[in-house]
Symmetry: C6
Subunit: 78 residues, 6 copies
């Protein structure tokens, strides 16, 4: 697999906002690793971006990735 799965190879980010962006990127990169064809992903994106249930599940995955990133950063409390 020659796709980078963790941009910057680190879970540490400066802020929660940056952590949230990383969570979205990491979620997308797993999809890319599973379906590497750009055209197919574009077609599927048009489907899930217009489907209420799918969008909720996208939110679910991002929330889970973010939970890990937030813990890694001690919730940016320090």
């Amino acid at each position: 697999m020659d796709i980078t799965l963790v941009p910057g190879n680190s879970l540490i980010t400066a802020t929660p906002e940056d952590g949230r962006h990383l969570a979205i990127k990491m979620a997308r990169l797993v999809v890319k690793a599973t379906q590497p064809d750009d055209d197919t992903r574009a077609k599927l994106r048009a489907i899930y971006a217009n489907d209420a249930s799918d969008l909720i599940q996208v939110g679910h995955v991002v929330a889970l990735e973010f939970a890990t990133i937030a813990a890694a950063n001690n919730y940016w409390r320090d």
Copy 2:
């Protein structure tokens, strides 16, 4: 992406009630980042707000976002 994903760029809130509101906002902002078109989101909202399974899943995502926020705030025990 020019959408703010974490309002206030912090997971720290004064109370559990505030944390719950943040959880709902954060969940919605991921949907907005994935489907930026306002009209499409309004249409989809009319769907999931009237679908039992979808509403339960909305609750699931909010519960997960809130778990992270609650941990960040040491469960507002201090």
Copy 3:
């Protein structure tokens, strides 16, 4: 949003039983915040209370809310 999302604005409860009740209430209040119309919620409740898959998912959300509440209370070990 003028709905109270965390009754008592605290995750601390006297017992696990009380924590479980809070988990159920918090799960329901997110649904109420997303679908504020009482009649619509009553109609949807008749659907999910009679659907096996939906009921299992209701249990899932309550389990997740409870996990957070239990952690907040140090699992009522003290």
Copy 4:
């Protein structure tokens, strides 16, 4: 709600096996609280006990309840 949601009002159990039984009971009691009619639950049980997807989701909920109970008991390491 006059249904007991946490039998014994405690998450502490003597063994992992006991904890697993508690997890199953707690998962079922939320379903009972949501659908109190015994006949309806019996009918729904006949459905989900014969549906592969539903059974997997039952396993999911029990796993989540158990995670909380296991943490409460320090994983029975002591």
Copy 5:
């Protein structure tokens, strides 16, 4: 219920590989406790083992059981 739910009545295993096997067994035993009929389970297994969505969900449950077992074993770091 006369089915053993946690083989060995312990979450402690020698290695991650052993922990993973335990996770799979524990996930299956909940299904067995919910649907005790061997023939029915065999029929359902033929369904979910040939359904992409079901297989992914099986993986989900095992991942969750494993998370608990891994925490119980301090991630086999010691």
Copy 6:
């Protein structure tokens, strides 16, 4: 079961990127343990790699496996 479920029999990896690869492998190996037939898995892979909802759920499972691996590695903070 003669399938290796945890490559290297360890959750410890040098980097987040390596941890992410391990998460994907572990998720796939559970599917392999549940459906050992190579041809069937290839057929199912063609299905889920072209289905938006399935791909999102694949991402969900990987996120959960990764959460465990990240915790095992102290989030690669050290």
